[in-house]
Amino acid sequence: MTAGQARSGTERHEAPGPASDTAPGGGDGGRRDLADRPVSHAPLLVAAGAAALLVAAPLVLGPYPVTTATRILAFAVLVLSVDLLTGVTGLPTLGQAAYFGVGAYTAALVGIHVTADAAAQVIAACVAGLIAAAVTGWIAVRARGIVFFMLTLAIGESVHQVADTWSALGASNGLSGMPPIRLFGSPPLLAAGFVYWWVLAVAIAVFAAVTLVARSPYGRTLRGIRDNEPRMRALGYRTAAARYGVFCLAGAVAGVGGALWAAQARFVSPGDLGFEVAALALLSVVIGGAGSLWGPCLGAALVLIVRDNLSASLGGHGPLLLGLVFIAVVFLMPRGVAGLVGARRHPRTRTEIPS
């Protein structure tokens, strides 16, 4: 019925493959998660095109849309970390906003007290997110399913509470006075477009890194855990260690997102790491298609545009619109935006192979 079955008919007659990794019959019929299938160059071209458009955006857009786009990119990095846990490893989480917040506060503190160098801020935030996740994740990964989900919620709320009450962090007023970022000894970057390009460069680097993780043997290990964790143990895997590893990795990614967020806003408040942010990040993953990485980035754009830009013109009913979008996605496209692309590619593959 599926393209896969249609293809197998032709493949079965091939000589049982030698160890060549460039196997014949290259079409990659929209099947997800096949880390080892022959590579098609179409996604690479699409990615290059998207990157080119993103790079060119500040040349045609005004400062306000560029600011919005910068925020979307920073948020998308947070969403990537959620997708790494939820989509790739099968661990739905509400805790990533906490590490995002840790990264944002770290970057702001480094900016205020140490250096305005953006790269240093990103590195510090990455390390801080990693450490925060390493400390809290040790408890969280012991649980699974709904208990894990609730633990991540508890972590998120605890960190939010700390940010909301700790005077050194400005408590509920937030942390302001962060100077504009500099890059490698440049003068302060005041123009929105320069900040955007920096954030874009880091976001693309993070996207590439997360994509590499997802396609690596470790990514395969994580998908194995998602699909059938008991079986992984029966193959000799120490699955708790593997889940802990990805939890730390996701914390580091979320921390980078926080630094990018702070670089643009130059102000961090407890609202940036609250439950709402965590929920919207998870919503972005669902809308975009869990596990595809690029889909959730589109989801992030949609969610942030509705919340920050459309909500005002809807009389403050942005959350209602997001709720409706969420319901529609769950019923109409359970695999999200990414699932639509996969579905569209299936029939094409079938016609490519004459039976």
Partner: protein
């Protein structure tokens, strides 16, 4: 395939159960079972329904904890080790109902087993397909079980029999010294059973096999030694001809459900 450790002399058992017991509350499903399997042996575990085969199997594999007694593998006491640690020492099991990664490709299923044995399961510096030795080994194992042509299909697209073949490939890929089959031919067609038996017969003689099986025809074709369980205890243990002739074994099977009449046919001298 297996690491070149010091060869164990044929007389030293690779697997030894010492008064192994597993109870559920007041019910003792496995009762002080002693068993030893020497390297390279094909050992079958049979018994009427409710004899405790599955419980014994799960206790040896590590899915269930022993209530008393020891499990010794390659001279090491593994009784208190979790399943994953036993697998790392070379005790690998299959599942009665094929347990696969259905949303992953057939090749990925096997590669998951290989990459753990190759110690690259946590690497993320390169895409998986660049780990050529791992990919090649996975394809070789798929070839062994006759699934080479389906490597890019998702496991969910495989038929029941093909899923069992994939299970075998995964077990072989995990680098086992002892393979434990849990009712491998249950639900297979006659042709699929035939293919399975041929596959097991082709496995390297260095591999030790413990097999729990209902189909006594399969048992007597594959096993060098057979252990019969009855009510949680070892009723008899010996070569297939001796087990066929054993009076106590016949009585145990006759006394249980009628479906076991099969055993009488298998037991008749040819």
């Amino acid at each position: 395939m297996t690491s070149a450790t010091t060869p164990i002399s044929a007389t030293t058992p690779i697997l030894e159960l010492r008064r192994l017991t597993r109870s559920y509350g007041s019910l003792t499903a496995v009762d002080q079972v002693d068993l030893s399997v020497v390297p390279g042996e094909r050992h079958a575990l049979i018994g009427p329904n409710g004899a405790g085969k599955s419980t014994l199997f799960a206790t040896v594999a590590g899915t269930l904890r022993a209530s008393a007694g020891r499990v010794v593998f390659s001279g090491q006491d593994v009784t208190d080790l979790p399943e994953s640690e036993r697998v790392r020492r070379g005790m690998v099991r299959t599942y009665q109902h094929a347990s696969l990664f259905l949303d992953c490709s057939v090749l990925d299923n096997v590669a998951l087993a290989v990459q753990r044995a190759h110690r690259v399961a946590y690497r993320f510096d390169r895409p998986a397909r660049r780990f050529r030795a791992t990919q090649a080994a996975a394809r070789r194992h798929l070839d062994t079980v006759g699934l080479a042509g389906r490597q890019y299909d998702k496991a969910v697209a495989l038929s029941h029999g093909e899923r069992r073949q994939l299970e075998v490939a995964m077990v072989l890929a995990a680098g086992p010294e002892l393979v434990m089959f849990d009712e491998p031919t249950a639900g297979m067609s006659a042709a699929e059973t035939e293919r399975f038996v041929a596959l097991v017969q082709r496995l390297p003689q260095t591999l030790t096999i413990l097999i729990v099986e209902h189909d006594l025809d399969v048992v007597f074709r594959l096993a060098d030694r057979v252990t019969v369980l009855h009510l949680g205890r070892v009723l008899a243990s010996g070569t297939p001809p001796r087990i066929r002739a054993d009076e106590a074994v016949r009585r145990a099977y006759l006394g249980s459900a009628k479906t076991e009449d099969l055993f009488i046919d298998a037991g008749e001298p040819q």
